[in-house]
Structures are given as structure tokens and as C-alpha cells.
Symmetry: C2
Subunit: 455 residues, 2 copies
């Protein structure tokens, strides 16, 4: 299989359909390459302009002198065929077709023409009808959404293959706000050439991708997809959300991407067999990804809870039970020792409740104990920052404990702006953070599942 | 039953244990009354200070000259008994005992003394071991959390009775950030006097409370609680989250508030019988509250989806089905008319997908049609703001449609900062907003349940 590096690490890019109008996709995409962290050359193509954002504009790609590694086609469907032909003449081998108006609106014939033009010249392409691709490391960014509306996340290890452009755009924007980090994001649209299976294999071999997330409504070739997933899941975690699992959702799928949704149970079983971890919703997809990509494997399902809020500890315990996890109980000598060193009103047991007068030092003491104890497999730290004595110091304490990678650790803190800022800095240290107990419990369950797969 | 108005609309308040040290609860609480929107008089009580934050300080409440409607006791447990006696001598009838160190840490005897002292003088009290009470309308605020760590939400119609102080603090902070609006928030701690049942009855009669939320681990008197709930739920919606529903969580409850958690199934059945809507997690609690308190009753379970992102529409349809809701299908003439007026690539049916080039006007057209159509009971608008042409105008379009209160409407938008700001302004207009399909679908289900109760 040919590598898709040309899409993600091109040295030169042509934007066919670059535009002067800031509201047009062709303008936004051209600007992305100029203003982001892309290091290569960018050429605007538009027969009706001579200069665009201070750059010389070309009537056709064939008029550009240097080599072009990647072309982005942002013209209407009819004009896209001609643009693809031009790419072929120019010797371009990788094309992203952002343009829509093909199979998804009933124009299957036009899509066939596009495929034919690409095949003739040995071109690999993504799309048509795609939001595009985004690589936080190389700065390749063919998303037509302006940055003030859709912020781009920092570079990290989570990649995403999405059958829905809208979901991908939402996820990127949300990850930026939360401080979560991204690698390669690909909206593959109608998958007229490159499909989900090929992308999966590529990301498996990509060293910057630590975990692969997917939103999938229906594979074009189910057998091929599950075979690919089986090969890849042994090397890297794959986490997937299936859209159209119910009859209601399934009806909608056929009018959306034209693929068959298939039945819920069949998909879930196939996911399991292929080693894919299934998420129930969009947040879970990325909760699981952050957990699995940042934390070491769990040796078992026993969780030590360390909290400063009793109610939150209880809700976490409830959600643990629902997710098949168990409360840990440290060795009695160690618990006795903690009891001596902590204030009398602290509750020391399966749930350590340090109560409202907690400080960072007490958290540190309990986390160390749990890290050292043979009867604890995973650690959850719940820190509600609303209490007076708890400061940002806890961030360093937790980050330090996580750095050793002895046991998986998850951090829960809920609230407003103060809390969000502190959580963002923990994310920077590579500790997965959560707002609510149910989210963290489900993510630990996913980590435990993945750990069993790789045991 | 005596009204609890003295707690929430006092004209004069004494803070017993007011302190000079900004990290001390007694300082924070005194400051809350000075710097918030509280209009009455505030007196600091502390034998070791003459002036506090520019106010004359009193050695004892009995030294204050004027009448005192409410006292807040923020001294250690042992000193709290004497403070309660002093309140009695002064003729104070309402007391909040923030102090901890009573039954919850094994000092049941001390708690008995506190009760005895209060009874002797006919005092009603909340606590001990409570985070306190907060009234966004009157400015009563006995929370010991500084405002920079725990922001206070604006005044609105959602009240909350919480057995956990930590959960209440988190919720207030989070509501502020989201722009959700609060009425009365009560952490009742050990409930040595005023308990959840009495609070429920009070909020039922409180005109500023539109919906009552509860976090409950275990009622002290289950029979009394469910009888009260049954009476109240006929007048106002009650939404509850039960902590300690699983065996694991239940074990933790007994060491937290000392109450018995009881079995999950028994509680759920009792909730249903009493007309309480049960939430599965903290976010749901307030999702349901915002929906039920702001939207008109639903006449049925048929939902029209109007979206600009196909994937999000599909995920919503999936979640609808899981929540027992149905896709609506408007009258064929109306659908035909919409098809004529919308661009050719828009998908018009049970899910209207306006796709990525949508503008506010097209949303308005579809919302009007759904409002007028007899085959639609509820409307969900999904607006992903990442697309180029969609502006803040949609906020006015949706707010205008919601103002008529013809049918319930829910708004979904996910993403980063831009999206959050626009959602906050819709919340200001009283339209419930959600980030993810699963959240909105569960909230519409809760509204439908409540609508059936009141039909």
C-alpha cells in the first residue's frame, strides 16, 4: 500500500479555487496554509485573479513552475473534473477534493468521471464532499472553516477518521478549547478513492499517531474494513463511534452519505472481534482516546478513589460499578499509616475522603501510597477546587505522580473557569482530566478493556 | 408548617465566627453579604476583633442592638452550642450551622446538644456540617467558597436541595460558567432539624422556584420524604439524582453522611410513584431542569430535527430512539413547500439537513414550518457554528420562535469558545442549549415524561 505521506507532509500545495472573498471556502483554505504552521510553498489557483493575499495567482495548476505535492480542489462539482485532469497533467499525485455535489446529491455519474480522471493519471484522492484534512504537526489544513469559528488544537497523538465533516469540525473546535491535542484529522467524505480502511492502515504506520479515533456510519466494504481493523488494533488502539445504530438513525444515514448503516448488534460484535473499542457518544470517543494514549496499561480493575468531596466519591463509585470496575482496598498497614498522618476527620478506606480543608500535600501522600500498594490497579483523583485551601499546587503533585507511569491515573474536577484552567494545565502534562464521575469511570473501563487486549 | 422565608429573605444577618483571615470560612461568608447583592444589614461577631472589613464587630450576637433575622454559625463544633444558645437569647429564629464535627465524624452527642439548644428557644436551623445556603435573588450567601474559585450564577428559576456540599459547590460554579440561572440552593448537611422534606414543601410554595432539583444519598425518613414529594410533584417538577445506588456507592454513603443508601430499584420505583423525574448524572439533573422549567409541555413524542450537520442529526436520531422518542414527519404539502424554498442539496424529511452553507433565514423557515405542523410535537435545532455562513443571527431566530411557547424547542451546538458564547446568549433568552445529541435527547424525554404527568 502506498504511503499517504504526500497528503500530510507535502512540501508544496496548490489551492485550486482560491478566492478573494473571505467567506468562500477557497479563501479560508488558502489562508490556512499561509497563516498556520505550514512550512512549505503554497500556490493559489484562480483564472480570475492575479494576486491573492499578496501571492501570485495562477490561472491553472499547469501554469505553476515548481513541483506540487498536494492539490486541494475547492471548485463546484462540474469544474472539479477539469481540475483533476489538470492535476494529472501537472503530475500531482495527491488531491483533496473538498467540493461537494457528487454521489451524496444523486450525481453518481459526475463522481464516476472524477474517479476516471484520477485513475488515468495515477492520482490518489480524498473526497469528494469532504471537510478536508488537518495535521496539527505539519500545518496541512484544508478545512474551510475560519479559525475564529473553529479553533485548531495543538499537536499531539490523537488522530481521527470521520465519515462526517460536521462532527470532525465540532471535535477540533472543542479539543482546542479543552486543551486536548491532535495529530491527523481526516474527513473522507464520499470515499470515492481513499477509504476508511486505507486511512486506518496509514495511521497505524504513522509514528505521530498514538491512538486512532473513528466516526463511522457505514463502511463501503465492511469485510475489508474489519480485516484492516483487526491488523491495526494489535499495534495501536482504535476507538470508534458508530452513527445510525438505531432504526431511526439508520434511516437518516442513507440520505446522508448514501452508505448502508447496518444493524447495531452486528456492528458491535464486529467491533469487538476486530479489537475496536466502542464509544457510545462523541465525548466518550475522545475521553477514551486521551486515557488510552496517555496512561500505562492497567493490571486489573481495582480503583482507589481519592477525593475532597464525599458526594463526588460516591457518584464515582456508583459509575465504577456500572462499568465493571471494583473499589480497591489497600493493605491494612498502609491504610493505618495514612490514618495516622491525615487529620482525624479524613475518611480513609476504599474511598479516601480528604474533605473540604484538603491541601495538595495530603493528596500527594495518598497518591504515593496508592501507587506503591499491590492491591491498587488504577487511581482516580477527584479535586474540587471550590474549597478554600486547595491551590494550583495539586497540578504539579498529580503530574509528578503520573510521570512515573506506574499505574493509570485519572483526574476529575468540575466547576467553572478556575477549574477549567487548572485542568488544561494537567492536560499539558499528559494527565487525562474529566468533569464528571460517569465520564472518568467509562474511560477507565475502556483502558482496562484495552489493557486486557494487549496483555 | 412554618415558612422558611427568614432564611432566604432576612433583613438582618449576623455572622458568628466572622474572621479577618481571607482563607477562613468566617471571612468569606461575611464578605459574601457585603459584596453580593444582599440589601439588608450584616453584623460580624467575633470576640477578638473590634472592626472587620470596616464594620463594627461584636463579641456576641447578644451585644447587637437591632433585630436579627438570620444567624450563620461558622465556629468549631464545641463553640457552636454556645453560639446557638446566644442566638436563642437574642431571639433569633433562623440559624445556618456551617460548622462541621458533629454526627458525620461520630460526635452524635454534640449534635444532640445542638438540637436541644435550638429546640429550647424555638429556633429552626439548617445543618450542621453544611456548605450553606445561596439565594441568587436576595443575595443570601453562606457559602464559604471564595468567589474567584466558585462563581455565583445569575438569578433564575432553578432551585437545588443537596445532601452533598461538594456537589452543590461544583454545580453553582459550573452553572455560572454556562450562563444557567439559579434560585435557591440549599446544602442541608446532617439535617439535624430542617430536612429534605421540609425544604421540598417550602420550595413548592416559593414563587421564584420553577423547578426543584435534588441530590440525595438517603432520606432520614423515607416515608415522610416520598409523601412530601408526592404532594409537591403535582405542583412543580422535581428532578432527583440518587447517590449510592450501587453496592459500591452505597458503602461509601454510610461513611459520608451516615444515612442508609437503600437499594437502587426500590428508590427508582419510589421516585416514579412520587412523580419525581430521575436523572442519571449531575449534568442530566440540570439539563432536565432547564428544559422542564423553560419549555411548554409536549403534546407527544414526535421530534422534528433541523440540522446543518448530517452526522449530528444521525446521532440525535440514534439517541432519540434510545429515549423512546420518535422522528416526526410533517404534512407532505408542507415538506413539498420547504423543498421548493430551500436549495436543491438540502435534505428535507424527518431530519432536515440544511448542510454546511446554511444561514439563519433557512433555519427560521424550517422552524416556523415545524411550529405550525400538527404532526410535530417537539423541535430540535442543531446549529454547528463552525460553517462559514452561519452567524449569531440564528440566536434571535430561535429565541423568537421559542418566545411564542407553542412547542418545546431544544438547541444543540458543540464546539469551542465562539459556540459557547452564542449558547450563553440563547440561555439568556430562556432556550435550553446542549453540547451533545445524547444530552438533548435525554432532556426531551424528561420533558415528555413530565408533560404526561401533568396532562
Amino acid at each position: 500500500m502506498a504511503s499517504l505521506d504526500g497528503f500530510f507532509r507535502p512540501e508544496s500545495v496548490a489551492v485550486i479555487g482560491a478566492s478573494r472573498d473571505p467567506r468562500k471556502p477557497g479563501h479560508v483554505i488558502f489562508r490556512n496554509f499561509l497563516e498556520g504552521n505550514f512550512k512549505g510553498k503554497v500556490y493559489p489557483v484562480n483564472p480570475n485573479a492575479e494576486v491573492l493575499i499578496g501571492r501570485k495567482c495562477y490561472p491553472s495548476v499547469t501554469d505553476i513552475e515548481g513541483r506540487i505535492d498536494l492539490a486541494v480542489i475547492v471548485v463546484p462539482a462540474e469544474a472539479a473534473i477539469k481540475a483533476m485532469e489538470d492535476c494529472g497533467k501537472k503530475g500531482i499525485k495527491n488531491v483533496v477534493v473538498n467540493a461537494g455535489g457528487f454521489r451524496e446529491t444523486g450525481n453518481s455519474q459526475l463522481e464516476e468521471q472524477l474517479i476516471k480522471a484520477a485513475k488515468k493519471h495515477g492520482i490518489k484522492f480524498i473526497g469528494p464532499n469532504t471537510l478536508g484534512i488537518f495535521d496539527a504537526h505539519s500545518g496541512v489544513d484544508t478545512l474551510f472553516n475560519p479559525k475564529y469559528k473553529l479553533e485548531r488544537p495543538q499537536a499531539g497523538g490523537i488522530s481521527f477518521i470521520s465519515q462526517s465533516g460536521a462532527i470532525m469540525s465540532v471535535v477540533l473546535d472543542w479539543m482546542s478549547m479543552k486543551g486536548y491535542k491532535a495529530s491527523k484529522f481526516i474527513s473522507y467524505g464520499n470515499a470515492a478513492d481513499i477509504d476508511e480502511s486505507e486511512l486506518l492502515e496509514y495511521l497505524a504506520s504513522d509514528s505521530r499517531t498514538k491512538v486512532i479515533c473513528m466516526y463511522i456510519e457505514g463502511a463501503r466494504n465492511g469485510r475489508k474494513f474489519f480485516d484492516a481493523a483487526k491488523r491495526v488494533s494489535g499495534r495501536k488502539p482504535i476507538i470508534a463511534l458508530k452513527g445510525g445504530k438505531t432504526e431511526e438513525g439508520g434511516k437518516a444515514v442513507s440520505s446522508h452519505t448514501g452508505s448502508l448503516a447496518g444493524q447495531a448488534a452486528i456492528y458491535s460484535a464486529a467491533f469487538r472481534q476486530a479489537g475496536i473499542i466502542e464509544a457510545d457518544d462523541i465525548e466518550q470517543l475522545f475521553d477514551f482516546a486521551r486515557m488510552v494514549s496517555s496512561q500505562p496499561a492497567a493490571k486489573g480493575n481495582r480503583v482507589q478513589i481519592i477525593t475532597d468531596g464525599g458526594g463526588f466519591g460516591i457518584l464515582f463509585a456508583d459509575n465504577m460499578a456500572r462499568n465493571g470496575l471494583q473499589l480497591a482496598m489497600m493493605e491494612s498497614g498502609r491504610l493505618e499509616d495514612l490514618r495516622k498522618r491525615l487529620p482525624e476527620h479524613a475518611v480513609v478506606g476504599s474511598i479516601i475522603d480528604l474533605t473540604g480543608d484538603v491541601n495538595a500535600e495530603r493528596y500527594g501522600m495518598c497518591i504515593s501510597a496508592a501507587m506503591d500498594d499491590g492491591l491498587v490497579d488504577m487511581i482516580v483523583v477527584i479535586a474540587l477546587f471550590q474549597v478554600p485551601a486547595l491551590t494550583g499546587e495539586i497540578v504539579e503533585v498529580v503530574a509528578e505522580a503520573a510521570r512515573e507511569r506506574k499505574k493509570p491515573i485519572a483526574f476529575i474536577a468540575a466547576g467553572g473557569r478556575f477549574t477549567e484552567v487548572l485542568k488544561k494545565s494537567l492536560e499539558d502534562y499528559g494527565v487525562p482530566t474529566f468533569s464528571y464521575p460517569e465520564r472518568a469511570a467509562a474511560a477507565l473501563k475502556a483502558l482496562n478493556e484495552y489493557s486486557m487486549l494487549s496483555r
